[in-house]
């Protein structure tokens, strides 16, 4: 794993107490951390609170970062998703209610045209994807978030979460099966709807 030398310099300076260096790290990864928190926890308010706590935790554990073992982004996302995982475990029942557990989520892919209608559709799409994620267990949610929003491969996820590659594959499979069940009758634009 190799990080940008500039990033390594920021890390070094931040460890030495340089606020501006930590700010650089923040601005580089804020969207990653916030997206992971949002996808894991499901609401903007919780994501915001979690992102704050994650960056503060990051500040404290920064001296422990070993760039020879994992890229900074992978390491940071592992911290982020582990934090959110803990929050979800504390919450226990996550967002699944017995009434709507098996109810399919109607979902339509919007096109990328930036018309107001399609912006609204995009938001709706995002909310519905979030709705599906909210019904996954914390384990499965963490897998899906790392795989899709951060494009991590089996090996990277396995290293970050300290599990085997076969465990990653089987958890991903379980998560996708669950999501497939939740999709219900969906129509993609490419299929003519």
């Amino acid at each position: 794993m190799s990080d940008d030398p500039i990033l390594l310099e920021w890390i070094e300076r931040a460890i030495g107490g340089d606020e501006s260096a930590f700010e650089e790290i923040y601005y580089t990864y804020k969207d990653d951390v916030y997206t992971a928190c949002m996808r894991m926890l499901g609401t903007a308010q919780e994501a915001e609170d979690a992102a704050q706590d994650v960056f503060i935790r990051l500040l404290r554990v920064l001296p422990r970062y070993d760039h020879t073992r994992a890229s900074f982004r992978t390491w940071m996302l592992t911290i982020t998703t582990n934090y959110c995982y803990d929050q979800l475990r504390k919450r226990r029942g996550y967002d699944v209610s017995m009434d709507d557990e098996d109810e399919p989520v109607a979902l339509t892919l919007s096109s990328s045209d930036p018309t107001p209608e399609q912006v609204a559709l995009g938001l709706e799409f995002r909310d519905r994807v979030q709705g599906m994620l909210n019904r996954l267990s914390p384990d499965d949610r963490q897998m899906i978030v790392l795989r899709y929003w951060f494009d991590q491969g089996y090996e990277e996820i396995a290293e970050g979460m300290e599990i085997t590659i076969s465990a990653v594959k089987s958890r991903l499979f379980r998560a996708r099966q669950k999501l497939a069940d939740l999709l219900g009758d969906i129509a993609l634009p490419s299929e003519g709807v």
């Binding site: 606020e19 930590f22 700010e23 969207d31 916030y34």
Partner: protein
Amino acid sequence: MTDSKTQRLQRVQEALDTLDNAEARAAIRSDLSDEPETLAAADNLERVHRILSTAPRERAPERLAAKIMARVSAIMQAQKSADWPVPQEAIAAAMMLANAATLPLMTGAAWLLIHAAAQPKLLETVLPRVVAVHLMLIEVMAEVLRQAETVAEDDPQTAATILALLPDALRAMADELQEK
């Protein structure tokens, strides 16, 4: 679901994750053409994959930066304060003053011992008292140091002040003992 169906679907999953080539994926799907149920399940997996691959990322709200950097700043300032060393000179001065404050007490103790030596019977009374006074002094000094350590992280200046008060505390104790 039979094992073989699960295994085939897992192959589909691996193809989704690792094969960018649509033709290779199509080849795997064609293997399933005689199993409509498995093929339908594979289609659903692919649909999930496409939807998740298209799902948008979030942008962190602008206000988050101010909140986080304010907390980061507070933590870094606290760390800097904690790292602020109590100057070695201050510690040395405090110890010298502590010695100076205890000197009369030590002199008194030595005087008592010398005179008690001439009358060995007195040693039985004097020696335990001298030892007790010294133990008390050590205990007081240790307690003051503990207090200074406790506040040092949050408020190093107060810690330094506590250390500076050590000689006064010892002198007050000596006065008290003298009166008794």
